[in-house]
């Protein structure tokens, strides 16, 4: 098991180093000058040169790269060009918001998807199945920017239950989490349905029923547990994506997450901030994937054994 984890981690480290180098190159290659964007239309030439020097952009690409690598190794990610604040502080400010939103959305998604998928699978081709799958189709099809605004109009403006947007108190997470959660639950519910349908035809399910277990025990304990592997894969991927920041939802609900920070940094060509955001996002994504792999191995002994062969 330890060897398996070790192999996964070394692969992950390699991916992160690759991403870190690639992002440095790409962000410097795309057109657009941060100094121009910061100073705007009417800035004077001398002022632009001064700012270029201040930001260290007058140095060669290789010098900038060495400084960047040094910074990453010593965990000093530098200062944001635009916000003039240490990047570590900016990320620490934003990341809790991203984590909270990701976890609450995922819980909502699971709470909706598991029963919905189970109902659809056990009552295949009935009204309940069609209803559940239509809901799921809607969830996949409705874009978050539209869903978010509709939620605001109904629940914040109409009923006045929740604030329109912001990051203040528990009530403010409800609408963004439901917006994200319903979209995720739609895909998950379809996955739960299809994997459950496969498992439900297995012999051990017939045995469980023959033992006289209740239908809910058969479904939720025996069938669902065996159907978990593909579902965990999907949940892992979704969690990774959520932790990378849900830009659209963050934008609609003014949620101060890392996704919006990264996108705005790209727009403003805030090189160090883009590099740091992508680094953090890739570490998270790779981390979640490694964690998912480990969970596989815990759940399915075949995977563990496979690594020993």
């Amino acid at each position: 098991m330890l060897r398996y984890i070790g192999i996964r981690f070394s692969g992950a480290l390699f991916s992160i180093v690759g991403v870190a180098c690639l992002v440095f190159l790409l962000i410097h290659l795309i057109p657009g000058d941060p100094v121009e964007i910061m100073l705007g239309e009417s800035a004077k030439a001398a002022d632009k040169i001064a700012l270029t020097q201040k930001l260290g952009l007058d140095k060669s690409m290789s010098e900038q790269f060495v400084a960047y690598v040094k910074g990453v190794v010593t965990l000093d990610l530098g200062k944001s060009f635009y916000k003039n604040k240490p990047i570590v502080d900016l990320i620490l400010e934003r990341y809790p918001a991203t984590i909270i939103l990701a976890l609450v959305s995922l819980v909502i998604a699971l709470l909706i998807a598991l029963p919905l998928g189970a109902i659809a699978a056990t009552r295949k081709n009935t009204l309940a199945d069609h209803g559940a799958m239509t809901f799921s189709l809607l969830g996949v099809s409705i874009p978050n920017f539209w869903m978010g605004q509709i939620m605001i109009i109904i629940f914040a403006l109409g009923l006045g239950w929740f604030p329109v947007s912001g990051y203040s108190g528990f009530s403010s997470i409800v609408l963004p989490a439901i917006t994200l959660g319903t979209a995720l639950s739609a895909i998950l519910a379809r996955m739960v349905r299809s994997t459950l349908l496969e498992v439900l035809n297995e012999d051990y399910i017939r045995t469980a029923r023959a033992k006289g277990l209740s239908e809910s025990k058969v479904i939720y304990v025996h069938a669902l547990r065996n159907a978990l592997l593909p579902i965990i894969t999907l949940v892992g991927l979704q969690l990774g994506t959520l932790l990378a920041g849900a830009v659209i939802t963050e934008k609609v609900f003014s949620w101060p997450g890392i996704g919006l920070l990264a996108v705005e940094a790209i727009q403003k060509r805030d090189y160090p901030l883009v590099q740091a955001c992508v680094l953090v996002i890739s570490i998270t994504y790779v981390g979640v994937n490694v964690f998912t792999d480990i969970v596989y191995a815990v759940i399915d002994p075949r995977i563990r054994r496979g690594s020993r062969d």
């Binding site: 000058d33 964007i37 100073l39 705007g40 001064a50 003039n84 605001i152 727009q267």
Partner: protein, 499 residues
């Protein structure tokens, strides 16, 4: 499903009423990036810094510079004497003196500070303190517009000397005191005269900003909304909307080195093909006015004699027919713009209008960095942008002087770096710009600038479109807000919460 409903219900129970608050909330689309006026470059920072700090010179409603906390006397064309009016106290309790003025500008001029405002005051040769209320600015050369450059907020000398971090903890002598950052995207200021708190919060999506105002989570919004959202707000009972004419100058820029567009007749045909009245009436619907030059006619540098091009597809067709174009063989041009949805909408309308005049434009939309990079390199035929917050006439040199062509970033050559992106070159305009710069009399130089405006208008390197208006919307919780010239937030000084 029951679990989901239970969760929703518990969340609802937990949600508290957030409309019970004492602070006045101002909604912004961007937070200020730097609260140190020596280093702030963005418009929001400038507006917030105006509230925290006081400057020695200010601008009146027609954008003419007037005394701020100090009035001036011209001792000679290169020596200005500033005398502080009344008593001004910094938020740390110290009295503002001429030493603080000198220290602030010395610090901006200090190369080590690398202030992005250094070059605008680089003509200062020396600053001499005469007494605690009087300070002399001695210039390297005469410039009648000099007082207009002294708009940087004054900082306490003692803190400057100690390398105090004004970005993290601003200390000024303005009407508002810095109270703290309340969370990630929220800044709180306190009005000194009555202790009223003001929260500046960022709401990224404009639709959501409007909805927060309707719901009462925001009290004031200023600019930054699409015209249809402003119309929507106008219909709300609990929201008050007011429009004002503005000075942000929107234009279409041409590449004067382009084979087709170097022909004045083609540029004139394009000017005739735009129905600005229709765009202003149906798209904007506010207080926007047609433009002829950088400065509106009622501005002190404005030129009343310039008459905007009329909308006349017939005239455009006639010109183009003379050049061999026809409905079947239209003029083909590319038009670059950003990805901003409103600018794209304007582009689509222009495309439709120009089609009537046998001009087919291909709209090319890029993200801001790429778009701006292309414009600087002269990699365009036509583009549209607007100039924001232009106050002084040095803009003419920056934009229309032949030596102000933007420097190519890819080359190492450190040339002049202006904004003459269309590569406009008129030796007479260059000559007049140089002449106006060295003219010591204010009225004489204004007359020269008006002449430059006229020449540029005739040459059409730009098609002037309109001056974009300003608006603000307030909730019914507050009263007394007004729109200040240039879109500043000075109206907050007198705003009152209704009990």
């Amino acid at each position: 499903m029951r679990i989901v409903l239970l969760l929703l219900f518990s969340m609802f129970i937990c949600s508290c009423d957030e409309t019970q608050r004492d602070a006045v909330v101002f909604g912004l689309d961007n937070m200020p990036n730097n609260l140190d006026p020596r280093h702030a470059t963005d418009a929001v920072s400038y507006r917030i810094n105006r509230l925290i700090y006081s400057s020695i010179v200010d601008f009146d409603e027609s954008a003419r510079f007037v005394p701020g906390i100090a009035s001036w006397q011209l001792l000679s064309p290169t020596q200005y004497r500033f005398t502080i009016n009344g008593e001004h106290i910094f938020h740390n309790g110290d009295r503002l003196t001429s030493e603080d003025i000198k220290a602030t500008y010395d610090s901006v001029l200090d190369e080590k500070q690398k202030s992005p405002h250094r070059s605008s005051v680089a003509l200062i040769d020396e600053i001499k303190v005469i007494d605690s209320n009087t300070v002399d600015f001695i210039l390297k050369y005469a410039d009648p517009f000099f007082p207009g450059y002294l708009i940087i907020g004054i900082l306490p000398k003692q803190l400057i000397d100690n390398n105090f971090d004004f970005t993290a903890n601003p200390v000024g002598s303005g009407a508002f005191r810095y109270s703290g950052w309340g969370g990630v995207e929220s800044l709180t200021l306190e009005r000194i005269k009555d202790g009223q708190k003001f929260d500046f919060i960022r709401v990224v999506a404009p639709e959501v900003r409007a909805m927060k105002l309707i719901r009462g989570e925001i009290d004031i919004l200023q600019n930054g909304l699409m015209p249809e959202l402003v119309r929507y707000l106008r219909k709300q009972d609990n929201v008050k909307v007011e429009d004002f004419s503005g000075t942000d100058f929107a234009y279409i820029g041409f590449n004067m080195q382009d084979e087709t567009l170097s022909n004045l007749k083609i540029r004139q045909a394009i000017a005739y093909s735009i129905d600005r009245d229709a765009i202003l009436k149906y798209l904007f619907g506010g207080e926007e006015k047609k433009a002829t030059a950088f400065f509106p006619a009622d501005h002190w540098l404005g030129n009343h004699e310039l008459i905007p091009y009329e909308y006349s597809p017939q005239k455009a067709q006639k010109i183009l027919a003379g050049l061999g174009y026809s409905k079947q063989n239209p003029l083909l041009l590319s038009y670059k713009t950003s990805t901003n949805s409103f600018r794209l909408r304007v582009a689509a309308i222009l495309q439709q209008q120009m089609k009537e005049s046998w001009i087919n434009i291909d709209i090319q939309s890029y993200d801001w960095g790429t778009f701006y990079g292309d414009i600087k390199k002269g990699n365009f035929q036509m583009y549209s942008l607007k100039w924001v917050g232009i106050k002084s006439p040095d803009i003419f040199e920056y934009v229309f002087h032949s030596k102000s062509v933007p420097r190519d970033e890819s080359s190492k050559e450190k040339g002049n770096n202006g904004a003459n992106r269309g590569r406009y070159n008129n030796p007479e305009v260059d000559r007049l710009i140089e002449k106006a710069k060295h003219e010591s009399g204010l009225e004489e130089s204004i007359a020269i600038y008006r002449k430059i405006e006229q020449l540029v208008f005739e040459d059409l390197p730009y098609v002037p479109l309109w001056y974009e208006g300003n608006f603000f919307a307030t909730s019914n919780r507050i009263s007394g807000y007004y729109l200040s010239p240039g879109g500043n937030f000075d109206g907050l000084i007198n705003v009152q919460r209704k009990e």
